[in-house]
């Protein structure tokens, strides 16, 4: 080979350039932190590792916001970003953190429940690394994560994930899916330590209501719904009927399957005294037969292929040219959470959880999600949490 050193140096430099060009955006995404402004109701901010020490020092550790009421009452736990490619849960929990004032009871909020997954990507599906939400003071940027934790944080995957403690055999990938690893173990795989931390919050703080917020495909039957086990189904039904009558949107109730293990709505009910609910809002971005997975599709939910399929009655939700926007999805979650807490408080006045300051569906659709986010640059630096 002629000019061997020159050729090898050139190729090595090319490789370095390729690695920097391709790797730097991924590195930055993994280390990009959200700035969350503590609202008027936030009392304490803890780490989940306070309840699950096995998370300390790992990428899976995450912030827990505690909103304490002026009067004693019940306790609620709100979870967002269980699946980090379903960001409506994240945005809804942030609206609670930045706006809610609790008059009675205590509300625990974990906005980025799968912190590792939120720093993972789905490059093969062409996912964007970030999405921007317009606000009154400019756009705020969020990480677009993946459904499962990053293999950099939890690896290797087993051939089959054997659920603890039921020993049901689940898909290998579910070992990194934080909505299959409930109720978790203190020294299990990393995602089991995450769910164990949340279970410990529920057990130690005597949490009455837990709400896990998700998004689901329009072509998936379990969408636009409240999934509830036997214990929660009455409150879920009352909440669904009330939002339909008072706020004009559908959110039907789906029973939690008793034989499918690892899901929050199943295991929380079976391993604690807490009443769990899982909310699914339709997110067209996740459907397979769509156009490119752009941030526009994520935010406005408009897709011509889904529109065509809606005409053939292939979707499980009503779908028209207006799509299914992020504002609608987040608005649904906020209203349904408020309604679940209101119905629970009516039935259990001694454990009431009373919240004000959180917008409902119509407000969020009218004003946009970003209207309810504070500008971290103008907030007291001590009140800005990086997660």
């Amino acid at each position: 080979m002629k000019h061997e050193i020159l050729v090898k140096s050139g190729l090595a430099a090319g490789l370095a350039a390729l690695l920097i060009w391709g790797g730097l955006p991924l590195y930055r995404h993994r280390h990009f932190d959200l700035s969350i402004v503590e609202g008027p109701g936030v009392g304490d901010v803890m780490r989940l590792s306070a309840y699950s020490p096995g998370l300390a020092g790992t990428m899976a550790d995450t912030s827990v916001f505690v909103l304490r009421g002026r009067e004693p009452g019940g306790a609620a736990l709100l979870l967002g970003d269980t699946h980090s490619n379903e960001p409506e849960g994240l945005l809804a929990t942030l609206i609670f953190i930045e706006n809610a004032v609790v008059d009675k009871g205590t509300v625990y909020i974990i906005p980025v429940f799968n912190n590792s997954g939120s720093r993972n990507t789905r490059a093969g599906d062409g996912y964007p690394l970030y999405f921007d939400v317009p606000t009154d003071w400019g756009a705020v940027r969020f990480r677009m994560g993946n459904r499962d934790a990053s293999p950099l944080d939890q690896w290797p995957d087993p051939d089959v994930y054997i659920h603890y403690p039921e020993r049901q055999m689940l898909s290998y990938i579910d070992v990194r899916n934080v909505n299959r690893t409930w109720p978790g173990r203190p020294a299990g795989p990393l995602m089991e330590r995450v769910t164990y931390g949340a279970m410990e919050i529920m057990r130690r703080e005597k949490v009455d209501v837990a709400v896990d917020m998700h998004g689901a495909e329009t072509m998936f039957p379990v969408t636009n719904c409240i999934v509830a086990p036997e214990r929660s189904v009455k409150i879920a039904t009352l909440a669904a009927l009330t939002v339909k009558a008072a706020e004009g949107f559908e959110d039907h109730v789906e029973p939690s399957p008793a034989g499918f293990r690892g899901l929050s709505h199943r295991e929380i009910a079976d391993h604690s005294a807490t009443m769990p609910f899982l909310l699914e809002a339709p997110i067209p971005f996740l459907d397979q037969p769509t156009g490119p997975k752009t941030t526009k599709l994520l935010m406005d939910g408009k897709d011509p292929f889904l529109l065509s399929l809606a005409g053939k009655k292939k979707l499980f939700v009503p779908y028209d040219a207006s799509g299914w926007s992020m504002d609608r999805r987040v608005g649904q979650h906020c209203s349904v959470v408020l309604e679940i807490l209101r119905q629970f408080s009516r039935k259990n006045p001694g454990k009431a959880i009373v919240i004000r300051g959180v917008p409902r569906y119509a407000d969020i659709v009218r004003q946009g999600v970003g209207h309810y986010f504070a500008d971290p640059a103008k907030a007291d630096a001590k009140k800005v949490v990086r997660n």
Binding site: L11, L26, Y27
Partner: protein
């Protein structure tokens, strides 16, 4: 970090060292040089904990 994961990183580093040695020793084929570098990409990304 679990023992298995540590072993995996050691394995990655070992394979990378072998490939680097191959790259240095290769005297004839430019194609082989390029292919060796391509095989090194995922190993480097993993060792640097990028992807």
């Amino acid at each position: 970090m679990t023992l298995v994961m540590i072993a995996y990183y050691v394995l990655c580093a070992f394979l990378l060292a072998l490939l680097a040695a191959d790259f240095v020793r290769e005297k004839r084929s430019r194609n082989d040089l390029v292919l060796t570098l391509l095989v090194m990409i995922p190993l480097i990304l993993r060792l640097l904990r990028v992807k």
